[in-house]
Homo-oligomer: 315 residues x 2
């Protein structure tokens, strides 16, 4: 069987898309198996070699909260020794000023902060209210910008929340606009529990546009919990969004949602974009091989349909 | 977590869709476990009770080729005893005149024939050439029509073929138009190995329209091998197609393609349509419960993302 889909473009879609790879950070932080630092470093390097233009490498979060990424400084020091400035260009998550201090110390150039679109998740994940979370972001973003860093703003629970249900688009726009006002360059709108469907994606992107936010400031971050991630990308493309988060092999998930499957798999996204003739710069075979290798490290099969089909690792 | 997605319609899509359930036939014929006739009968009845408007029940194929469905007559006799005329309305596959004889004997009202869009699959699956397969369909369809039966025409390998690669849309249109000329009422255009992407779906539907085939004569039948099935439905909806084949729990697959995962799961389709506010008449919880029960009978978890998420049967 051919290892690539046939190319049949759809009129009106963007001709080129940026895949923002989150596997080493968002993927591994939600895996129960602890991965050795050297394996993480190899993972990041293999993803870069596969042509992924942006690879978020780790999170400078307190090890008490995310023990899987306790080796963030060690990982980035090692990667910098091997890759030099290329490693300093890799984005890292900084939950707060302490995290930013560590990123600055290592000379990182791109950081990301993590906000919530809902009251309950702000409380559970950040120990803040929806309003007071910004007190944490104001100095973090300001200081990062003073250092000349680019700052990405993750907004989680943008479509639904396990406790509050449907999340009004106005509420998401309000959180996003506030982050942009603080100096965030790009918003990553996350469907943390995977409940978005195509019409909802279209409506949310339209609401940002109506609020004066250009579509090129938006990235979309989908989870495949209900199998909807790629149709949501399709809706996003039709709405003009050109940056999509994805996780090699579909690594990760949401630790707060029972049975949640992981992030949209990079390979499934690459297959989809390739079929539509949309440029992405990624070598599918290399990412599949990387994810098959990582699945072995983790001791479980990849949830990615493309990885399973092409690596023949399922029945 | 809510057991239903939020409803946000997408402008321009159909307001109502017919789900054509193929699990008992296309699903079970590709499962290695032999399912007892009573279990199949219960499966069909549970699917009908869940609101599925059309449930293809079995295939009157020679038991030598599909031993899993060797009990077709017994199954339909039992269902007729329980459901009366309702059972006779259930479509059944008839590969040839001998199959049709058995369907006529049991008073069935809806039959389906199975064609190939490619030379190689016609040879391997039907032992015919692309051209000579029609010699088999001419008398089968004519006699079925004389009996007042509706005839559906499956066209397999409509997008790609494991041996021939990309299948030209003109070739698919040619096979489909020929079946319609013979008296077939509805075509089910199958992506047997799961290689379709959204632009290709759009192009194939457009090619049929240009050949003078009204879109309401078309159904689309997707496999989720590369995770693309739902985006392909999305493209189909945007092209105006209102009938989609699906298999409860994602049962089945293509026995000719290594690692092929199964049909689009009915539950994933129902979730998607529900999110878009498109009427389908199916009770999601009932189908999920049915698929979870069938997964137990088969001794393996359902590949449907929605079934796994809602029945909590994965890790």
């Amino acid at each position: 069987m051919s290892a690539l889909p046939m190319v049949v473009p759809e009129p009106g879609l963007p001709t080129s898309v940026t895949i923002y790879e989150v596997g080493p950070r968002d993927g591994l932080q939600n895996e129960s198996v602890a991965v050795p630092t050297a394996t993480k470093a190899a993972f990041v390097q293999r993803l870069l070699a596969a042509g992924l233009p942006i690879v978020e490498a780790t999170s400078f979060v307190h090890p008490k909260w995310v023990p899987q990424l306790a080796d963030a400084a060690e990982l980035m020091t090692g990667l910098t020794a091997e890759l030099g400035d290329r490693a300093r260009e890799l984005p890292v998550l900084v939950p707060n000023e302490r995290g930013l201090d560590r990123a600055v110390e290592l000379g990182m150039r791109h950081v990301a902060v993590f906000a919530s679109a809902t009251e309950t998740f702000a409380s559970k994940n950040l120990n803040r209210t929806l309003a007071s979370q910004f007190e944490m972001f104001v100095p973090t973003v300001a200081r990062a910008r003073e250092q000349g860093m680019d700052v990405r703003g993750y907004v989680s629970m943008c479509f639904g929340d396990p406790w509050e249900g449907a999340v009004p688009v106005e509420q998401v726009v309000s959180v996003g606009v506030r982050l942009l006002e603080l100096g965030v360059g790009q918003l990553s709108l996350g469907d943390t529990i995977g409940v978005a469907t195509a019409g909802h994606v279209r409506a949310l992107v339209a609401a940002f546009r109506e609020a004066g936010v250009p579509t090129d400031r938006l990235a979309l971050h989908f989870h495949d919990t209900y199998g909807q991630a790629l149709t949501n990308v399709h809706a996003g493309l039709q709405a003009g969004v050109t940056t999509y988060d994805a996780s090699a092999g579909g690594l990760g998930g949401c630790p707060y949602a029972k049975s949640a499957t992981g992030n949209l798999a990079t390979e499934d996204l690459v297959w989809f974009l390739t079929g539509l003739g949309i440029e992405h710069g990624v070598d599918l075979g290399s990412v599949v091989a990387t994810s098959a290798w990582m699945a072995e490290q983790l001791g479980r099969p990849s949830p990615s349909a493309v990885v399973r089909a092409l690596s023949g690792s399922d029945s």
